[in-house]
């Protein structure tokens, strides 16, 4: 969708994407980070925010892997008991 826009237009007059918008988006990313609570007032550099975000994404993806493994353990160790099936059913209602 963005491949039709020419490069020259983007670099010469980026009026559609202002610097402020970028700053705002970066600050939104900063608020998502786990360290956001400790430094919510100060604005760190965009580069730092991106780096922290990359690390955070990697951590989260690793957690998904670990939790998948543990869920597989759980499913393997206990046959889906009727109680657990009832829990799932009630959550789906």
């Amino acid at each position: 969708m963005s491949s039709r826009r020419s490069r020259s237009r983007r670099s010469s007059n980026s009026s559609r994407i202002t610097e402020e918008q970028i700053v705002e988006l970066v600050s939104k990313l900063q608020d998502l980070l786990p360290e956001a609570r400790s430094r919510s007032s100060e604005r760190v550099s965009a580069s730092r925010v991106l780096q922290d975000t990359c690390n955070y994404i990697r951590d989260l993806q690793q957690e998904v892997d670990d939790l998948s493994e543990r869920l597989a353990d759980m499913l393997a160790s206990t046959e889906m008991t009727s109680a657990q099936a009832a829990i799932i059913r009630s959550l789906l209602m």
Binding site: L25, L32, I57, M74, M80, Q84
Partner: protein, 153 residues
């Protein structure tokens, strides 16, 4: 039809998270019921697949580039031999990748690799998509942790 979706707080009771949870629970129940019982590694793979699929199917993300790219990647996973992990780089280039502009921070390229579909995005979109992706990831982690806690108590 270009509704700007304001970033909601990660409220586990919001409709977006509910869709995601519902999808994941259904998939998990299917995996649990499967007979004959698959190997542990296969089950882990299926669960992880279900996790990312439910992220991509949550109502907030279905309009996002990253969710479409993720679904595409998931289909590739399913078609490959078991044992391949997330690091397989074979991808179909649907959009001409935009090389990093000099004004972008250095880490933007790394971010492009982490966020599904990031290669083809402009910097501004990349930031938006990243925020959305992070929220979905976080919700998924919370969901899986909650399930583990609920079932182990």
């Amino acid at each position: 039809m270009n509704r700007k979706n304001p970033l909601p707080n990660s409220n586990p009771n919001s409709p977006n998270s509910s869709m995601q949870a519902l999808h994941f629970l259904q998939a998990l129940a299917r995996i649990a019921r499967a007979a004959p019982k698959p190997a542990h590694s296969a089950r882990t793979r299926q669960i992880r697949h279900a996790a990312y699929a439910s992220m991509a199917h949550s109502s907030r993300s279905s309009r996002r580039t990253w969710s479409r790219a993720l679904l595409h990647r998931l289909r590739q996973w399913q078609q490959q031999r078991p044992g391949r992990l997330l690091t397989v780089r074979r991808r179909v280039r649907i959009v001409t990748p935009i090389t990093s502009r000099p004004e972008e921070p250095a880490r933007a390229e790394t971010l492009r690799q982490l966020v599904p579909g990031g290669r083809g995005m402009e910097y501004c979109n990349l930031l938006e998509e990243t925020a959305d992706y992070v929220q979905c990831l976080r919700a998924q982690v919370q969901l899986m942790q909650t399930l583990l806690d609920a079932f182990s108590s």
